[in-house]
């Protein structure tokens, strides 16, 4: 019987919404599935995780030093769990959290791993984007433990089930290698970029921070959308880093993506290629974004965006 482990990302109260999708990915690799929750007073996280269909068991590592789980603390915990359970797979979401932690655990296990998996073709055959998403590589991974970070949007969310058992595990002592200082999450009033069904993204074409917000904020409010931006728009100071979409920044796959006043540099396309419906409002119909778009509205965005807002009323 194959046994997979998943590192659960959470905020201390709720598991990350990606977890249901990572469970679906893990079910393609194993029939037995253990979720690993590390935190401080994270019982509520474990209880919710236990109710995701396909989960066999939740291991809860609860200790004060895990309140802000660091890769230095999590990686030996993961390596130990893989050995103890003789697991054949270890997964996490391909988020900044998963991508900082899994490679550290993989190295402790002397095991090669795959990042950003978007398809599992066979228990040892995986597909992942390379070259900023300009190509998809298919790889065979013969390692005894398949370690992978998975792009959540590529897998369907698992349903509910009656709660699986939660087992309290002894937490390993603190590694004391690095110390958490602070976390900032600006703009929490809007949906999170990684979870939003609609993303309104702006580029340099917006011209200034004032115009960026004057045009995009009402549209995002109307659509209950997250606001994204290109690297150029962030560097020009239109909006903060945490809104950047691309190879640097967030990788999103919303239902609707509005690309406004941006040309679509390869770097940016890497972060939004998997959106279901892409709309671009752009003065240049030859811009690369138009080849990634489903609907192109060519013209002056300073006229079109207000008209769009009126048409949505």
């Amino acid at each position: 019987m194959k046994h997979a482990l998943i590192l659960v990302e959470h905020d201390g109260v709720n598991p990350h919404s990606a977890l249901r999708r990572i469970v679906s990915a893990a079910r393609l690799l194993a029939d037995r599935l253990t979720l690993l929750v590390a935190g401080s007073q994270a019982q509520a996280v474990a209880e919710q995780a236990a109710c995701i269909a396909g989960v066999s068991e939740v291991w809860l590592f609860d200790a004060p030093h895990l309140s802000q789980p660091l890769a230095e603390d999590l990686s030996p915990l993961l390596a130990h769990a893989v050995r103890e359970r003789q697991a054949s797979a270890l997964l996490a979401a391909a988020s900044p959290f998963g991508k900082a932690t899994l490679p550290r655990a993989a190295a402790l296990l002397d095991c090669a791993m795959l990042s950003d998996v978007v398809e599992i073709q066979a228990p040892d055959v995986f597909v992942r984007p390379v070259h900023a998403g300009a190509a998809l590589a298919t790889l065979r991974n013969p390692e005894p433990v398949k370690i992978l970070s998975a792009r959540a949007a590529a897998f369907p969310p698992a349903a509910d089930q009656p709660a699986a058992p939660i087992n309290i595990q002894p937490a390993p002592p603190a590694a004391n290698r690095s110390a958490w200082v602070s976390t900032t999450h600006p703009d929490s009033a809007r949906p999170a970029l990684a979870e939003a069904k609609v993303v309104v993204a702006g580029g340099q074409g917006l011209g200034s921070a004032e115009q960026f917000h004057a045009l995009l904020d009402p549209l995002a409010d109307r659509l209950n959308a997250a606001i994204g931006a290109t690297r150029a728009a962030v560097d020009a100071g239109f909006i903060g880093n945490d809104h950047q979409i691309g190879q640097t920044g967030a990788i999103v796959a919303p239902e609707f993506y509005f690309a406004i006043g941006l040309s679509g540099a390869a770097q940016h396309l890497a972060g939004m290629r998997d959106a279901r419906v892409v709309v671009t409002i752009n003065k240049d119909a030859e811009a690369p974004i138009c080849r990634q778009a489903d609907y192109v509205l060519e013209g002056d965005l300073f006229e079109i965006v207000p008209a769009l807002l009126r048409a949505l009323e």
């Binding site: 890769a71 990686s75 490679p103 190295a107 070259h131 190509a135 998809l136 509205l297």
Partner: protein
């Protein structure tokens, strides 16, 4: 303080990517190559710290074929003091790269290792955490700002929807987001000066590492193409079409 910076030679992401006819891989023939932009940001940060007097020496390293000499010359022109080329026929996988860098770190004893957060070709983002694990050092990955005070690094990391600040004692591994530093443009005198600096070649066997691949590349394909875009006349028509697609 001594810093080790690893630089990878990658295809220029601005040039169109060509795949081999048999879909066995990326066709690199005639492809313009450059220093991995994330590594370039890492190196620029280190050079700025050297100019500010907090870093005393920068050692650059690249792993690959002879052509990586060019990448190392670029690193030397930017401000690295000396360089190593670890000879390898193909770019090794991240775990092998991490083992090679660990072996070099054990020889060179840097206080700090700075890498790009990922290579812009493979997009793995694995080497920095793997290297930190092998050395047993703290890690600050996806760093957009790093301040150095009293032998402690204050690393600002890009996380989902925000930023996180970590304090890392030295020695440590950090990996650079593009935002960490804006690379300088190189001028002719710097390029000429770089020719006088030394590049020492090492073989993986001298470092006690066999960089054989563990994974097998079965093929590379273009991503599924979108249908050609529909050109829309005005906002009203756009909204009507998007409603049909299910826009709330």
């Amino acid at each position: 303080m001594k810093a080790l910076v690893a630089v990878k030679r990658v295809p220029d992401g601005n040039a169109p990517l060509r795949l081999k006819m048999d879909c066995s891989g990326v066709d690199l023939a005639g492809m313009p190559m450059r220093i991995n932009p994330f590594d370039e940001a890492a190196l620029e940060w280190a050079v700025q710290r050297k100019e500010a007097g907090t870093i005393s020496e920068i050692v650059a390293v690249s792993i690959g074929g002879n052509a990586c000499q060019e990448t190392l010359r670029h690193a030397l022109a930017m401000g690295a003091d000396r360089a190593f080329l670890i000879a390898a026929e193909h770019a090794p996988e991240p775990l092998a790269v991490a083992k090679l860098l660990r072996a070099l770190a054990e020889r060179e004893q840097p206080d700090l290792i700075v890498l790009g957060k990922q290579a812009s070709d493979d997009d793995n983002a694995q080497t920095a955490p793997m290297l930190a694990a092998l050395l047993g050092w703290p890690q600050g990955v996806f760093a957009s700002n790093v301040a150095l005070e009293n032998n402690t690094l204050q690393v600002t990391r890009e996380i989902e929807g925000g930023q996180e600040v970590l304090a890392l004692p030295l020695p440590a591994v950090i990996s650079a987001d593009l935002r960490l530093a804006n690379p300088r443009y190189l001028k002719l005198p710097q390029l000429l000066q770089a020719k006088k600096k030394t590049i020492e070649t090492l073989n993986p066997s001298e470092l006690g590492v066999a960089p054989a691949p563990r994974l097998e590349l079965l093929g590379v394909a273009p991503p599924p193409a979108r249908k050609p875009a529909v050109k829309v006349a005005d906002a009203r028509e756009l909204v009507a079409l998007l409603r049909q697609e299910g826009l709330p």
